[in-house]
């Protein structure tokens, strides 16, 4: 079967090379004098959106302990399986995490853990500089998650889609 190719018939001015070249040169010359939009990274930082989902943070109670009750929802919901949680129980029957580790290298920063958390404990945060010299360095344990100080993400709210 023959394939029909649409033949564009262009007006003569569009086929002029010289005119198009001069227009292009004028455009690039104009751009040369326009303000530069580079953000010079180490000195200047991008202003992150409040909904930015970056490095995790574990919030704490007044007594300085993690809010986490080791319910196990976040490892269940985690699509990349990067949260390792071993629950423990104290003498009063309160559950707490014995081990709580997040592999930031595996994490896809979907923010489901923050959405699913009943205790408002684990959060994704407005922070993105988490490079390390080894893969092990990316595994954040509970202390490290609690020691993070960056602002946490305000996730997208279905009832308030524009964030107002």
């Amino acid at each position: 079967m023959a394939i029909t190719v649409k033949r564009v018939s262009r007006p003569i001015p569009e086929t002029s090379y010289v005119k198009a070249t001069l227009q292009g040169m004028a455009l690039t010359l104009k751009h040369m004098f326009e303000p530069k939009i580079t953000i010079e990274y180490p000195e200047q930082r991008w202003e992150l959106s409040p909904r930015w989902r970056g490095t995790h943070r574990m919030l704490t109670k007044e007594d300085g302990k993690a809010r986490c009750v080791a319910c196990g929802l976040c490892p269940s919901v985690c699509p990349s399986n990067c949260i390792k949680l071993v629950p423990g129980e104290d003498e009063n029957g309160n559950r707490y995490p014995l081990v709580f580790e997040i592999d930031e290298f595996r994490c896809i920063f979907c923010g489901y853990c923050q959405e699913v958390c009943p205790e408002d404990a684990i959060h994704v945060g407005q922070h993105y500089e988490n490079s390390e010299y080894s893969r092990e360095g990316h595994v954040y344990d509970l202390e490290r998650l609690m020691a993070q100080t960056h602002p946490v993400s305000t996730l997208w709210d279905a009832t308030d889609p524009k964030g107002e």
Partner: protein, 427 residues
């Protein structure tokens, strides 16, 4: 024994240098100075290219090494290139592989020795012409040497024993040979007008009448386009078209050898720019005044004319970079058809036109002067309009979708050695 006393003799600063020793000493000084300035300029051009490309794209460009301007970037690049490991393809032709970068760089550098860069400098030992050597055959020498540049690229492509390098080398030889013709032809009107091939005479002629860019606009445009092609820069960078040929002829090169190709490209750019400034923009001539062309020559005049020359050269270098970051690369058939079907006939026709005009002007009795230049200028404006308004309708560069008519396709196919195929045969 070097006769030192020759250097100690005090002569008239306005008179040309006489003694043999003085001549040699000044020649060596000029050589060293020109070489140094040229190398530094070529290095700084890498920075200029990155800066200008950045500005065109709304970025800032290198600004980490050497302050906000990034002035030490070329030095940092140089150090990096020296430190890098030099790889060598297993089946490369070793002597040619090593020789090719130098072969592409040296011709660009040699051309500089006949380009005058300032009005004569008076010294206690006599008047020194600010040109390394004012060869009487100046211009022909440039054409001869500039053509050698293609060897470096072709040999690099061939010696690498790599299909992409080889294709790049083939392309560049085809391209440079094609555009060499138009380049040479476009300079004939300049020689017709100057009546001489010596660079200083060409400059003097322009200083006394009008710059050739007004007298011979078409020749200038052809020369500009051919220079772009000769230096293998966008839109004529097919020899190193990275989307098709990895890096073309320098695919296999690394470290300082690669760097030398890079320097050669910029060196060629500077040389072409200086040639354009000399042939078409009056060289070191300061416009609107005859003060700089007349004796007595002073140091101030030398400095000002040198500045003028550098400004003109710098302007063309900027145009080169500007064009590079604006235009897309040509297709190979566009390149060839532009070279042979547009530029060469245009250059040949222009030679006839200018020759006729000069003869008529001579017959009528108009001597070189304002009237002479005015006639040429008017003629150029007419030809420019004719070329760019009437002819440039999809003919100068054939558009991507093609304008071939059915009758033409049938005619072309009938020429082929293969049995004729009609359009309906495939159904």
């Amino acid at each position: 024994v070097i006769p030192i006393h020759a250097l100690l003799q005090i002569t008239d600063p306005q008179a040309p240098i006489t003694g043999y020793t003085t001549f040699i000493v000044f020649s060596i000084i000029k050589l060293v100075v020109v070489f140094t300035v040229y190398m530094v300029a070529a290095a700084l051009l890498t920075l200029a290219e990155r800066k200008i490309s950045a500005w065109i794209q709304g970025r800032r460009g290198p600004n980490r090494v050497g302050g906000r301007g990034g002035w030490l970037q070329p030095a940092a690049d140089g150090v990096k290139n020296f430190m890098k490991e030099e790889t060598e393809p297993g089946n490369a032709s070793q002597p040619l592989f090593s020789m090719a970068p130098a072969l592409s760089f040296i011709p660009a550098m040699i051309v500089w020795c006949v380009i005058p860069f300032g009005s004569p400098l008076p010294t206690p030992w006599g008047r020194v012409d600010l040109v390394v050597t004012d060869l009487p055959v100046g211009f022909l020498f440039i054409l001869a040497i500039a053509s050698l540049g293609v060897y470096g690229i072709v040999l690099a492509g061939w010696a690498s024993n790599n299909k992409y390098s080889f294709l790049g080398g083939l392309r560049s030889s085809a391209q440079m040979v094609s555009y060499e013709v138009a380049l040479g032809m476009s300079t004939i009107p300049v020689i017709l007008l100057a009546g001489n091939v010596t660079m200083t005479q060409i400059i003097r002629q322009q200083a006394h009448s009008m710059w050739n860019v007004f007298n011979l606009t078409i020749a200038f445009i052809i020369f500009l386009i051919a220079s772009l092609a000769e230096t293998n820069r966008v839109p004529f960078d097919l020899p190193e078209a990275e989307s098709e040929l990895v890096a073309g002829y320098h695919t296999e090169y690394s470290a300082m050898k690669f760097s030398l190709f890079f320097i050669a490209e910029y060196a060629n750019m500077v040389t072409s720019s200086a040639l354009m400034a000399t042939l078409f923009l009056g060289g070191w001539d300061i416009p609107f005044t005859g003060w700089d062309n007349a004796a007595p020559f002073t140091v101030l005049k030398s400095i000002l004319t040198l500045g003028c020359f550098l400004t003109k050269t710098g302007f063309f270098v900027f145009v080169f970079i500007w064009i590079r970051w604006t235009l897309p690369r040509f297709r190979y058939d566009q390149l060839m058809s532009l070279g042979w079907r547009v530029m060469l006939p245009a250059a040949l026709g222009y030679i006839v036109l200018i020759g006729t005009t000069l003869l008529i002007l001579q017959a009528v009795g108009v001597n070189p002067g304002p009237m002479h230049s005015f006639v040429l200028l008017m003629e150029n404006i007419c030809v420019l309009l004719l070329l760019f308004v009437m002819v440039d309708e999809g003919r100068i560069i054939s558009p991507a979708y093609g304008r071939a008519q059915q009758a033409r396709i049938v005619r072309l196919r009938s020429r082929s050695a293969l049995p004729a195929v009609t359009d309906g045969a495939g159904k």
